[in-house]
């Protein structure tokens, strides 16, 4: 038992590595995850719209992209991108592997995010597009102003889940070789584990990951609950009416006015 505690929960080692994890580690992990998510979203939106197109020339490239980047192991994509493009990356971005890592992670998450957005947009009732078009909006304007915003709202919980997945996948960037200041949570934990021949720093890294991801899962649940209750995520709850809560008002007085004659 002592042996177990010493291998996994050596407090001295944990407290030694923790400051590094909480500053450099979290900073770099979030930098990678946020950067990749931005890249991913920017790529995913056209991907989703292309996937919804009636035209095969638009649908096909989106399909192929999605199948490839969803079908490959993340570590393989990151390694291939980071290694194969490193000369290009060097000339474009300098020696840091971060930009290429963000692009690789971004393309992977784009494949998933594109499918999430497509499902969300598809779930918007057909009548919404018809109403927008019937008001004189072009297809593009109707999608941009009426349909896509609704579709995105419906998949916010899934998008946050996808962000959690990116946080975890960002640990794979260590394969591209990181200098001390570039290390993310996993690499810091791993380095400390190897040099001390003790797994406690990795346990600490795991706890730091949970520190990021667990609150996010609760955010997902909260948003999900509000969406299911029929309110938009950021709207005030309806004022309670006397006689109990009634979010949707019943017939109002002027609905009920008797019809006159003329």
């Amino acid at each position: 038992m002592d042996n177990f505690l010493q291998t996994f929960l050596d407090w001295d080692l944990i407290s030694e590595v923790l400051p590094d994890l909480l500053t450099t580690g979290i900073k770099n992990t979030l930098l990678l995850a946020l950067g990749a998510s931005v890249v991913g979203f920017v790529v995913a939106l056209p991907l989703a719209l292309m996937g919804l197109s009636h035209r095969r020339v638009l649908r096909w490239p989106a399909r192929v992209f999605t199948d490839v980047f969803r079908g490959l192991p993340a570590i393989l994509t990151i390694l291939l991108f980071g290694q194969a493009l490193s000369p290009l990356g060097m000339s474009l971005f300098g020696p840091s592997p971060f930009p290429l890592a963000i692009v690789a992670l971004g393309l992977i998450t784009a494949a998933y995010t594109g499918e999430i957005l497509r499902a969300g947009i598809q779930s918007v009732e057909k009548g919404q597009l018809e109403a927008a078009r019937a008001l004189g909006m072009s297809y593009g304007a109707a999608m941009r102003l009426a349909i896509v915003p609704q579709g995105i709202r419906r998949v916010i919980p899934t998008l946050v889940n996808q962000f959690i997945a990116v946080i975890k996948d960002s640990s794979l960037v260590y394969t591209l070789g990181l200098v001390a200041g570039e290390r993310e949570i996993f690499r810091i934990g791993q380095d400390a584990s190897v040099s001390n021949a003790n797994l406690s720093p990795l346990v600490a890294a795991g706890l730091v990951y949970l520190l990021l991801t667990v609150p996010l899962t609760h955010v997902v649940n909260a948003i999900d609950k509000r969406l299911r209750e029929g309110r938009t995520p950021f709207e005030e709850p309806p004022a309670a009416l006397p006689g109990g809560p009634a979010p949707v008002p019943a017939a109002t007085a002027d609905d009920l006015l008797p019809l006159g004659r003329h």
Partner: protein, 283 residues
């Protein structure tokens, strides 16, 4: 509402009262009084369908439908489900593209104009209201005014508020549609379409999704528009509305017009066996 003998437009001024016959009242036909202050009058445009055909694959839904709606006239289209009445309506603003025939708006072929222009000139109200749920009532109104009609922010808001006041919902401007009753939502949808200042309005079973007690408020608003001279094509199951508000009633079945005429003729003296059978079902 004046019941004109011919398809000439009725007066755009409020008409004198028409007594409702006991049989009409028994049939559920009730005259519809204005909701509040009289709104402005409209100068509607005319619509003419000429041999319109529509097929979905091999399924022929419309087999040559021709009728005309004069400026300011109200035409109600009735018929069993699957008769093609909604499809005919949707051909007018090209939510469905006709596969044959022509449709003219003020004499101009709608098939040769851009759909976006056409739809600015012809408003439509749907069974399911189709307000944008992520926008407030006022934003639902101003969105097309700003993005389609190209109005400035203040002008759009002023016109939207005026439109909302006219349907009696000025106090709901900052509500989300989900917090309104179905009847209120449909009145916002009507106001949203009207705010674009269309030449004609299409109503596709506008009250069919409403709880019974909410139907009258919407019908009353539609009758008010009719009185103010809006050109209207109304697909409806509300026979009382058709009888008291329509200038002409068209009965469709299996993709063709079976019978048309003044409401009194259609409802009290139906000629074709199919219309007789239909009325026996619904009245």
């Amino acid at each position: 509402m004046t019941m004109t003998e011919t398809p000439t437009p009725p007066a755009t001024t409020p008409s004198t009262s028409t007594p409702v016959s006991p049989t009409a009242a028994a049939a559920g036909a009730t005259a519809l009084a204005p909701a509040g202050a009289p709104g402005p009058t409209f100068s509607g445009g005319s619509i003419e369908l000429q041999g319109v055909r529509k097929a979905f694959g091999r399924n022929e839904v419309l087999n040559g439908v021709s009728f005309s709606v004069a400026a300011g006239e109200v035409v109600c289209v009735i018929g069993p489900s699957g008769s093609g009445k909604s499809t005919a309506l949707r051909c007018i603003n090209r939510l469905e593209e006709p596969t044959g025939g022509d449709i003219r708006l003020d004499g101009e072929s709608t098939l040769s104009m851009s759909v976006d222009t056409l739809r600015q000139r012809v408003g439509m109200v749907f069974q399911q209201f189709n307000l944008f749920p992520h926008k407030t009532v006022i934003e639902n109104m101003t969105l097309p005014l700003r993005k389609v009609a190209g109005l400035g922010k203040d002008e759009a808001r002023a016109r939207a508020m005026a439109g909302l006041e006219q349907v009696g919902l000025g106090g709901k401007a900052d509500y989300r549609p989900v917090r309104l009753s179905g009847g209120q939502q449909q009145r916002v949808a009507i106001a949203r379409a009207l705010a674009m200042e269309p030449e004609a309005m299409l109503f596709d079973e506008a009250t069919s999704a409403l709880d019974p007690e909410l139907v009258k408020g919407v019908l009353r608003l539609m009758a008010d528009l009719a009185r103010r001279g809006m050109t209207m094509v109304v697909v409806t199951h509300e026979m009382g509305f058709a009888r008291s508000v329509a200038d002409r009633v068209i009965f469709m079945d299996r993709g063709v017009i079976v019978e048309q005429g003044r409401p009194a003729a259609i409802f009290d003296d139906p000629q074709s066996p199919r219309l007789q059978a239909f009325l026996a079902e619904v009245l």
